[in-house]
Symmetry: C2
Subunit: 668 residues, 2 copies
């Protein structure tokens, strides 16, 4: 078998030759961590490049995604079809499978999108939770693999790293192994400019097993990973490396991080490493060795397949369902039943309380549903009957994240990318900012994660402006591929939950109130009215003169205003808008009918106005927030900020008068 | 002098009586940490309640802001005028100085707004940096105080805590002292559900001095704080406490965190603590003792004032200027000079490069300007000539934050709240999500922090969608009290910098390109055209038929489109919109004139469309992004996503045709 160091050089030269070709790229990591990844892929990582999505494969996450050529080169060498040499050469070209940073594509051996530092390792921690869950449920015959994450200094400086390090240690995720590419260099230069602490000591405090190795000596790396696998704790392997190793001009220097290579670098590196091959040519012996490494897992996979086939039909079907990320048959029925109950009973309660009740129903129907609420289980009413997932008991389905919202978001992404778990996590809407970038990554990856939020407006009252979202609905609606739901009542909430769950190619945000809201929908049939994003919840009694748009707790205010307007002989429709994104996807005819441009239009939402012109045009009125909130009882706040039915009525009347005036001169 | 434990009970009963009165509040912290704060205020904290904004006072931050009654009760007892007993009774009422969570108000002894966990301690670290800066510049005679922050478990679980703990240890901020209210309880119950690690060990790894004490024994607390002050490192004082101490039903229980008190609790607490006074009555001896504590610092303050008065006139004036958060005379002239240069030289370069050049100019003009770019100094071109601020040299004005964006944001808020430093920090726009909640807090507090961003669109090219902001402009524009600037070129950038700096009552975001953009403004007089938020940068040659709105790098595209349209005989104006917020503040006449409703309107921005209807109405065209970006050379991306002058031209022509068609039937 070829020498692992030579095999690592194959990564180095694929990288160097590609960087030179396009005049771009981050050389530091692929050159510096080539030996780590080569040893991992060829001695430890359980995978079969001919079946990249084998559910029991080990997962490898390159958290320092800027060095993406490392994983592309390794995956090409190991034989992943999608990463051909042509794709390598198309590095960072439009449509290439080798984009600037690794993008989630399990068929290409890319387990998650990385680049925004800290989140890759957090995804890995989520994957390790999913692995534990599946192993607990199906036993080690069907699920028994490791999660490896390569991390640089950058990921470890981001705060999210500490959140997940603490959780992984606390939960004793023994199948989790971090490989630390420790080269003491970041973009700004020596790490000692910004950090003095001993990273391994930090992990030990958090309950991890730690070990170190020479990151350029395959035997040393191999031995360290062996120890890491043997330890029942999560392991942190410090690999001492030289950034940019192999290119003399930049090795060990900050220029290696993201600096450009020059042609002489390729010549010098060839000289230094004794590499005589043409650009992008990997000698046969090395390629053969790599390809052998890429199928090392085949026998294990076939044995696993035999075990799966030998399982009871039900077990096999269930395992396959879970790892295909499909929901179980019949998950919808109990939800629709619960919805019908709400429509019949018409409770006056916080939608977050109803969401907790719905979670209970869904937890029975969807055994893979796992929830969590970072230190807010009481306030969000979302733990309820689920037992905790702990170091001692992996059967639990509630994760005590602690006060760590960003960790929750990124871990949920890891669970969804791993498959086997349907993640749901809820916190106050105002803390969505803490996990916001994880929501973005879920949207970019198209993962079916459900982000729950409560305490969605000034309706929280006395806790004051720090806890009152104002700009959040707009900021979430601005994000591509995220469906943002703000249901009006318990019935609509059930519909939004249904839409969020059935969406398998992207995340949803389900946003609830803390304060009690009446049930405004008396109809609870199987038809999902929220599915069109906006709909007439109360029609005009005659030819529609006014349209009131509202979401969430403000739908009731719109209905109150409508009553007054109708009493004054102004036919008024109320449109509930639980989801802007779904509405935008409707045909123009439906949208025009809902919007009612010829009518006087008013929107009511206890939030910033940004974007509402889509519904109300340039002459409509917006009744909502234009500043941060305040600390006071919620009823007083709605009055103080003028979010009232009276103001909606006045806004309509003023605009009708103005229209009338306009019309008069024309007719006289 | 009265017994400190009895004085602490005064905090407890003000809290209990207030919670019972309003039926709301978080009792755990004011009851559990009353002894810590009482000992701190009456034995260590250097302040004078009769002059709350004395610049050399010690700062006290209650980072666990949900327990706000603690600081309100202490400040009332210590004699801060603003926190009268009437205000205490109006706890959480509209307009009260005692809102749900503490809100920045130095005159009331509230040094920063807290509530969103983790940020208070991060603000404190920023304050400690500001204190070191002032001490280095003016000597300990004028600046020599401590920064204390009370923290619970929640703040320490948030990732930002690790970021600032590492930085504070690394920077050896010896005047920083964290008091850890360690009661092993959070909202979800026992902390062991979510954390197993030894917090003090974690701080030791980061280079802190640690000490512990009995958090209910004033002598023990006193001794620990003495040790903390004496140590040259930042200190972490673990105070072992019982949450909710004093109310037997909830003491030591999660019910203490945010649970409601019942009347029997007040009776039982009075029994348990031997307190026989009516609600809200503090016996004279205790009040006198507290008031004596509240003015302990008076002699020190007067001595300090003497030293200040005895200083050279220039030194005194400069110190007073800095602590009044005023910019130096003449800061504007060199900036305007630089702007004139840009207008004359018309460089074709990234606006982030110009921003780096402008920072150089401003650094000379504004000695308190301190900058930082979390591990992106090369990419953002913003370190330049500034020397680093380090543990060894406090004269530096560049802070190596490491890869810690959230820490940067929250520390800048602390610096601005402390005064003496004008903070500026820059990172990629896509990482603004990481620091987003700190931006929110700056906006809520009205602090003059400048948040710089670069790499503002798909214009970054090959690095791909993870690093290409799409939704960010909209999400920042949604935030109240934040001015969001996206300048078109170097000239407009200089104007935006001027507007950001002169704004003393709120933060600004200044957003730059990575790619080169031409200088589109040839006029560089002292007039600040960006000041109106939007203006006609290229007028129509005749009666305006079309209006093209654009920001940033897309202004050039709009100008190109205008050229084509004008050549086709269509008088077209281009409106540059560097700041929506400033435009919204203009009078209606100006806004109407700019908007040009009678014209065909098209907006061009390489970002999400949310909100642009304000400019283009319901029939206008938006040319921008509706999905995440992609990895490819930037020119290809603009073509791929159709953000081109050709598309703008077509959009105008289509709409003109449609208008024409509409008009025809009317006239026939």
């Amino acid at each position: 078998m070829a020498d692992l160091s030579r095999m690592a050089d194959a990564i180095r030269f694929l990288s160097i030759d590609t960087f030179l070709k396009i005049g771009d790229g981050h050389p530091g990591t692929p050159l510096g961590a080539a030996d780590i990844v080569t040893t991992l892929y060829n001695r430890h990582l359980k995978f079969d490049a001919s079946d990249p999505t084998w559910p029991d494969r080990d997962r490898f996450v390159q958290s320092n995604g800027h060095g993406s050529m490392l994983i592309y080169a390794a995956n090409h060498l190991a034989g992943f079809d999608k990463i051909s040499i042509e794709e390598i050469k198309r590095f960072r070209e439009l449509g290439s499978h080798c984009p600037g940073h690794p993008e989630y594509d399990p068929e290409a051996g890319i387990e998650t999108t990385t680049g925004p530092l800290g989140q890759g390792i957090a995804n890995a921690v989520g994957m390790a939770v999913a692995e534990e869950k599946l192993r607990a449920r199906f036993g080690p015959d069907l699920c028994n693999h490791y999660i490896y994450a390569l991390t640089g200094d950058g990921c470890l400086m981001e705060g999210i790293s500490q959140e997940v390090i603490e959780l992984a240690g606390h939960l004793k995720l023994g199948h989790l192994i971090f490989l630390f590419d420790s080269n003491h260099i970041t973009d700004d230069g020596e790490t000692c400019q910004a950090i003095t602490e001993d990273q391994a000591a930090r992990f030990r405090v958090a309950g991890w097993h730690t070990v170190e190795c020479d990151g350029h000596d395959p035997a040393s790396i191999d031995a360290a990973i062996l120890l890491a696998k043997a330890d029942p704790r999560p392991s942190f392997v410090t690999c001492h490396t030289v950034i940019g190793k192999g290119v003399p001009r930049i090795a060990g220097d900050r220029a290696a991080h993201g600096g450009k290579l020059v042609p002489q670098d390729a010549i010098d590196a060839r000289e230094a490493l004794g590499w005589s091959h043409e650009p992008h040519v990997v000698p046969d012996d090395l390629l053969l060795a790599w390809r052998a490494g890429g199928t090392r897992g085949r026998a294990e996979r076939l044995a696993w397949q035999d075990r799966l086939d030998a399982s009871e039909a039900e077990v096999k079907a269930e395992f396959q369902r879970l790892t295909a990320s499909k929901l179980p048959d019949g998950w919808r029925a109990p939800l629709i039943h619960r919805k019908a109950q709400y429509a019949a009973e018409r409770p006056n309660q916080p939608t977050v309380a109803s969401s907790g009740e719905i979670l209970d129903v869904l937890s029975d129907a969807i055994p893979e549903l796992m929830s969590g609420a970072p230190d807010l289980e009481a306030a969000t009413k979302h733990k309820r009957r689920l037992a905790p997932f702990t170091a001692q008991d992996r059967s639990g389905r509630y994760l005590h994240y602690g006060v760590r919202e960003f960790a929750m978001g990124a871990m949920m992404n890891g669970m969804a990318a791993h498959r086997g778990v349907q993640p749901f996590g809820i916190t106050f809407l105002v803390f969505s900012d803490y996990e916001r970038h994880a929501i973005r990554m879920a949207a970019m990856m198209g993962l079916p994660v459900i982000f729950g939020f409560s305490h969605d407006s000034i309706g929280i009252g006395r806790n004051g402006p720090t806890h009152q979202p104002v700009e959040y609905l707009a900021s979430l609606r601005a994000m591509p591929n995220l469906n943002v739901f703000r249901p009006a009542d318990s019935v609509e909430l059930a519909e939004c939950w249904e839409l969020a769950l059935e969406r398998r190619n992207g995340p949803s945000a389900v946003i609830c109130t803390r304060q009690a809201v009446p049930t405004v929908r008396g109809d609870g049939t199987a038809e999902n009215r929220a599915a069109r994003g906006a709909y007439v919840i109360a029609p005009a009694s005659g030819a529609r003169q006014a349209t009131l748009f509202a979401t969430g707790s403000e739908v009731q205010i719109a209905l109150d205003a409508r009553k007054t307007l109708e009493a004054r002989g102004i036919p008024t429709a109320v449109v509930s808008v639980p989801c802007w994104e779904l509405f935008a996807a409707q045909d123009k005819g439906y949208r025009d009918e809902i919007i009612g441009r010829a009518t006087v239009r008013v929107a009511i939402e206890a939030a910033a106005s940004l974007g509402w012109e889509r519904f109300i045009g340039e002459d409509g009125a917006f009744i909502g927030m234009s500043s941060f909130g305040a600390s006071a009882p919620e009823d007083e706040l709605f009055a103080h900020f003028g979010i009232t039915a009276d103001r909606a009525v006045s806004a309509v009347l003023e605009r009708l008068d103005a229209k009338e005036e306009k019309r008069v001169p024309e007719t006289v």
